[in-house]
């Protein structure tokens, strides 16, 4: 292959996988800081939740940005992943005697599968709707999931898992206790696992978007009637996007559940869904790099603003409004675009 072709392929590659590169660079910086003891404790404790919310934002972007369906129940899939993950980690530790990394992988996989199954079951009726109606119904399903989880009791007796619905007298050691959720969880999530999950999510979503199926999903978003007229299976591809999004959210949820000693269903309320949606909208709908950056910044921001005490959430709100106004201002947008273009031209000259 000649030199120019190689450079252009490399350019295309780096453009496609830009979020992966950013995440990897940040991971390396964080690892260096941790090993040099240069990272404050509070920041260190935020690393795994940041990874989780990046996964959540990118997976929601698949539904909202790529597939164009406004979903307000994303935290529902997260909660299914979280509780399944915790139960599966405990089960695999007690019954199979898995080591910690294996427990984590097992929990992530089963958590993802469970959330995917729920996504499929919910998707069948929900994806018949469009626009606002779909948003309301996903909101309702998110709340239904939370309320059902409020009633579920799970205990482990020897090798048997017992399930109870509104029944707190199950034999054996209780793992999940209805509204109290899971307590005394062994926190086996690690930053490296979080990073790998983010990378996995990004690669799956980017590869999907830049393939035949991804193009079909975007075509259906852009014009449903035309997509049907060229023979695209509209329902199938919508379901594909919705279920993939749910699976990734379930995996993120499992990592989340195994990061805290206590997790209860009330952690996954409507507010949590909206929070994730804010990351997606602020990062730019359909923009995966934007989701990654927005999730990281907007998760860290309120925590770092603690020095403002009472004015913390006010400052957060002001920042949100300011970012929205700035990113939607045509003049500023043009300015940034011109800057980027100039850089590109310069790059072209040197090559």
């Amino acid at each position: 292959m000649n030199k120019t072709a190689l450079i252009s392929t490399l350019k295309k590659f780096s453009k496609q996988y830009l979020p992966c590169i950013i995440v990897t660079v940040f991971f390396i910086i964080c690892q260096i800081m941790i090993s040099a003891n240069a990272m404050p404790r509070t920041t260190k404790s935020m690393l795994i939740p940041v990874c989780v919310y990046i996964v959540m934002a990118v997976s929601l972007n698949l539904t909202v940005g790529i597939s164009g369906e406004l979903s307000l129940g994303h935290a529902g899939f997260m909660s299914i992943g979280a509780f399944t993950g915790v139960v599966m980690a405990t089960y695999s530790r007690e019954v199979f005697g898995f080591s910690q990394p294996l427990q984590l992988i097992f929990a992530l996989v089963i958590g993802g599968i469970m959330a995917g199954i729920m996504g499929f079951l919910i998707g069948i009726p929900v994806l018949r709707l469009r626009g606002d109606y779909l948003a309301i119904v996903t909101l309702a399903f998110g709340e239904i999931i939370r309320n059902i989880l409020n009633c579920i009791y799970i205990s482990l007796e020897g090798k048997d898992l017992h399930f109870g619905f509104n029944n707190n007298t199950l034999p054996g050691t209780q793992i999940m206790r209805g509204p109290t959720g899971v307590t005394g969880v062994k926190t086996i999530s690690t930053f490296t696992a979080g990073f790998l999950l983010v990378l996995f999510t990004l690669i799956v979503v980017i590869n999907l978007v830049h393939s035949r199926s991804g193009r079909a999903i975007m075509a259906i978003r852009d014009n449903r009637i035309a997509a049907e007229s060229v023979g695209l299976n509209v329902t199938g591809y919508k379901l594909l996007a919705f279920v993939s999004s749910a699976v990734l959210a379930g995996m993120g949820g499992a990592l989340f559940g195994l990061n805290y000693a206590v997790t209860s269903p009330s952690n996954f309320s409507f507010n949590a869904s909206i929070l994730i949606l804010v990351y997606v909208v602020l990062g730019g709908i359909g923009n995966i790099t934007g989701s990654v950056i927005a999730a990281a910044i907007l998760y860290i921001l309120p925590e770092e603003l603690r020095s403002f005490n009472d004015y913390r959430m006010l400052a957060y709100a002001v920042v949100l409004i300011a970012v929205m106004l700035i990113t939607n201002n045509a003049k500023i947008k043009n300015f940034i675009n011109n800057l980027l273009k100039k850089n590109d031209e310069k790059g072209g000259e040197t090559v």
Binding site: N207, R212, R221, D222, A226, S229, V230, G231, L240
Partner: protein, 286 residues
Amino acid sequence: MTEITKRRSDTKMVEYPSRSIVPERDIDKCPVLECRHLGIEFGGLKAVDDFNLTIGPTEIAGLIGPNGAGKTTVFNLLTKVYQPTHGMVMVDGKDTAGMNTIQASKLGLARTFQNIRLFSQMSVEDNVRIGLHNQIAYNTASGILRLPGFWKGEKKQHEKALELLSIFNMQDMANVKAGSLPYGAQRRLEILRALATSPKLLLLDEPAAGMNPKETEELMDTIIKIRNDFQIAIMLIEHDMNLVMGICEGICVLNFGKVIAKGTAEEIQNNPEVIEAYLGKQKEEA
């Protein structure tokens, strides 16, 4: 000898609308489209009524008529956007009863739209690639995992897409966003996307709308070229009489949902009913 018991009342038999006119070269071939008594009612309003038409496999057919005559409704019936309430549609000898739009597309029907419906956020090449979706296929898993099937499929799609774009000399615009193309180019891209599904019958809804006379001339040449190169039938709705009379072999005139005339360009031009539908009744004394 047992006597045949007669259970039916005396039925009056009428002639079934057989092949109407098709080009002579297509006479011994299975017609690509055959509509029999096709009709649709919207709550008592007969939008299309008793529509009979046969199109040969390499014919360029025209469907004309004043505004609101039901021309686009006919296209919607053929492509199963609407389910007909009367009659039947046969595509390449197969009955399409009960099919949906997707199945009709797989059977070999492709269309463009009167108000352009492109995937405006996607690039020109990706628009054509969507047309190739069912022609050059690989599964989702090999797309996510970047298996060899993905690279092979992508390469084939890319080559085929550029080949199709070269019909209208649009290869240079391959990476432009479809929504930012000029109007005429958007119309051409829509034709290419329909063509990418390798149809047997291409339905064009006002392909020359918004084009200047020079562009229309070019479009006429291209339509004939497409027919010759791909050996497919083309049916078009158009208000530009120059285009219709210039390239259409068989023409069908609709007015108020009914066929008022069928024939060649010369026959249609001299048909008093057609003239009346377009220009109104001639005054007796004039």
